[in-house]
């Protein structure tokens, strides 16, 4: 079947521009999360369900649980491809892994890993080094990614995200391959490896669009996996290597290879302390529990001329909530794993009928979501002769529960707290993710006099420079040159706090505010907008006597 060249070319372009990654892992993760509540196949699922709850509960309780989870997973016969790799590594005293990926038009990407059982590992990528000893992980940039001034080199330290449960699966990036993969023999792939081992070949269908895996494993029913090549079809339909994983077991890995040797002149930043120390829950200005979520307001400050209120807030699950709805662990990369509990708005939006929310930044770690934002009153206006004419402001809201003013009395402010639950088992009446919101009235601290938007934007960036290290926090705003895509608002971009200056960030925030202000325009209803007369005839016609 041959389409015209025009269509094929256009489809090829669409493929190359495809704007979203594979949905497989997201969907299967959600299915795993809801399987405890719903399943189309009860018999087998009941068994899995129990095990899934066990794993989820363990994973939520931290590193010790992660190690226990790894032990439990390894105690049974490995079924999936990922479990088989993990099993082979766990049984070896040491290992050397090489990950390569092919990128058209470049030399590709190569990552090496050295592992010694019970001691730790070292990962070297072109731009980063990661060292882990089982309890802590250190990482720093190398090559072009390192700071030009070696004296400024920062080493990030954090509690280990869990090598077996998080880091290794993240590095392998293997989709959920059904357990029967060893039945998919491909004798034509059999070959002898450089160390003389005779390896058997398997061809596995990967549940990603148009991908397959070519696996080489040592002989035997549970032979260790030595090589996985993930292939994807190219434009002509032929299979091409996309990435490969090669594993050598029990090879000499000297202890000094994995020993922690910090770069000369480096400065160690503790990610956990930086994140948790800036706005601890016990020092919050206000705390309120709603729908199983615990909201905290850590900082508030009115803006001058009643322009709005700056807020730093966080949301987390209460212990009961976390027990009832264990959060999903979502590895982002070998260093960052998200714990999905609840999230606050991640983009600018109308807040009820009278206010707008401008989100300045967001950070999430360990299941706690922080947000830096500003709530501003809407200023409704009409455009007359090309100029904005603002309508009188009132102190009453038509929306139930919404306060008419942000400043109900001197020294006090009203703040709306809002979050969406990640749990698949918490759905609203329309099967959407459940949202929790509440307005709280609180006192403004004495050391927080009215200030400017510039000042609070600078402060938000300062906080995120501290709390957002390692990519867990981002600033938000409308980037210069961004165009609206059909709606009134331009898309929000996120910025690394270290790679944007205060002035540039403030401009991005103001663009977002300007966009929302455009939504405040109201138009007068004229006779041409009226409904047709009930007696028939064209709209706008005078009624017949």
């Amino acid at each position: 079947m041959k389409a015209s060249n025009g269509l094929e070319d256009q489809m090829a372009r669409l493929r190359s521009e495809w704007p979203v990654g594979s949905l497989v892992s997201g969907v299967m993760g959600r299915i795993g999360a809801v399987a405890a509540a719903t399943s189309p196949a009860p018999a087998e699922e009941d068994r899995r369900r129990g095990r899934g709850r066990w794993f989820a509960g363990l994973a939520a309780s931290g590193l010790a649980a992660g190690l226990l989870l790894a032990w439990i997973m390894l105690a049974g016969r490995p079924t999936t491809l990922l479990a088989a790799v993990r099993d082979g590594l766990q049984k070896s005293r040491s290992a050397y892994l090489v990950f390569t990926s092919s990128v058209s038009g470049s030399d590709g990407h190569r990552v090496e890993m050295w592992y010694r059982r019970d001691e730790g590992l070292r990962v070297e990528a072109p731009d980063r080094v990661i060292v882990e000893d089982g309890t802590h992980q250190w990482s720093w940039a190398i090559g072009a990614a390192a700071a030009p001034n070696a004296g400024d080199r920062v080493v990030l330290r954090q509690r280990s995200p869990g090598f077996w449960t998080t880091q290794l699966p993240g590095m392998l990036a293997l989709p959920d391959v059904p357990g029967a993969w060893r039945k998919a023999r491909a004798p034509e792939l059999d070959r002898e490896l450089p160390d003389g081992t005779r390896a058997r070949g398997f061809e596995v269908t990967l549940p990603g669009a148009g991908e397959r895996g070519l696996v080489l494993a040592e002989a035997g029913d549970e032979g260790r996996i030595r090589e996985i090549r993930v292939q994807a079809r190219d434009g002509g339909g032929a299979w091409r290597d996309a990435r490969a994983i090669r594993i050598d077991y029990d090879v000499p890995v000297p202890p000094e290879r994995i020993a922690l040797r910090l770069p000369a002149g480096s400065r160690v930043v503790d990610r956990d302390a930086a994140f948790e120390g800036r706005y601890p829950l016990e020092r919050a200005l206000s705390r309120v529990e709603r729908g199983g979520l615990l909201f905290a307001v850590h900082d508030i400050q009115p803006l001058r001329d009643r322009e709005g209120v700056y807020v730093v807030s966080s949301v987390r699950g209460t212990p009961e909530y976390l027990k009832r709805y264990p959060p999903r662990r979502r590895p982002i990369n070998p260093e960052v794993v998200m714990l999905d509990v609840a999230y606050q708005p991640m983009g600018n939006m109308m807040e009820g009928t009278k206010y707008d929310r401008i989100v300045l930044g967001t950070a999430n770690r360990g299941g706690v979501d922080y947000s830096w934002w500003v709530i501003v009153p809407r200023r409704f206006y009409e455009v007359k002769e090309g100029r904005r004419v603002y309508l009188p402001e009132g102190d009453v809201s038509a929306m139930p529960g919404e306060p008419g003013r942000l400043d109900p009395s001197p020294g006090r402010v009203n703040v709306p707290l809002r979050a969406t639950c990640w749990s698949e088992r918490l759905r609203d009446e329309r099967e959407g993710q459940r949202e929790v919101s509440i307005w709280v009235e609180m006192a403004v601290p004495a050391d927080r006099p009215p200030t400017t938007l510039d000042e609070v934007a600078r402060r938000a960036r300062g906080d995120l420079l501290l709390m957002g290290v390692g990519g867990v926090g981002r600033l938000l705003g409308v980037a210069a040159g961004t165009k609206a895509e059909g709606g009134a608002l331009r898309p929000i971009s996120s910025f690394d706090p270290e790679s944007i200056e205060d002035a540039e960030f403030l401009a991005a925030v103001r663009r977002g505010l300007d966009d929302l202000r455009r939504c405040d325009q109201v138009g007068s209803i004229g006779p041409e907008d009226g409904l047709p007369w009930l007696g028939g005839g064209r709209g706008g016609d005078e009624p017949k006597p």
Binding site: R15, P19, L23, V34, P175, P178, G208, R233, Y343
Partner: protein, 178 residues
């Protein structure tokens, strides 16, 4: 290659992991369906995920497992319309690209060219069974024989469906293809 119908039966027997094959096989068609309604990459991805989840939950109600693809696309369209209505109640809400970037999810690209948007819109206008085969052939680059095996249809039927779909696409996307 196992057919959709076989995989549906395997999932219903309790092998939940097998559903991943169906997701991988149909994710582009589902996303394209959602995008045509929502015109927003991230909202379409959310809607597509919701559609797969709903399909998984309701798999035991699917009377014709060989029609899984078309059934799934109908669910995707319904989910997308539902999300679009919800967004309409909050018209100025912007979800842009911020949330995905904030958590470090790297998508291959964040913008579609006008031509790609037009071809996507044309694709979404095809009947569901044709959308499935076109997506598998031209977005996943599967050979016709594999599509036929996956959909449990004769190769000739798939070829005819592709021919009709191409003719429709040509008429719908004249501006793109000249």
């Amino acid at each position: 290659m196992r057919s959709d119908a076989e995989i549906v039966r395997v999932v219903l027997r309790g092998d939940r992991d097998a559903f991943a094959v169906l997701v991988g096989r149909h994710e582009r068609a589902v996303w394209a369906t959602a995008w045509a309604v929502l015109r927003d990459h991230h909202a379409a991805a959310d809607a597509a995920q919701d559609a797969f989840l709903l399909a998984f939950r309701r798999l035991d109600r699917l009377s014709r497992p060989d029609r899984f693809g078309a059934w799934l696309l109908r669910i995707a369209r319904r989910e997308s319309v539902r999300i679009a209505r919800r967004r309409a109640r909050d018209p100025c809400r912007s979800i842009g690209g911020g949330d995905a970037d904030a958590v470090g999810i790297a998508g291959p690209s964040s913008r579609l060219s006008a031509g790609s948007e037009e071809i996507l819109a044309a694709l979404a206008g095809l009947p569901e069974h044709e959308r499935v085969v076109v997506s598998m052939r031209y977005l996943d680059l599967l050979p016709v024989a594999e599509i036929a095996a996956a959909l449990d249809r004769p190769v000739g039927t798939v070829t005819k469906q592709l021919s009709r779909a191409i003719a429709r696409l040509k008429s719908k996307a004249k501006g793109v293809m000249g």
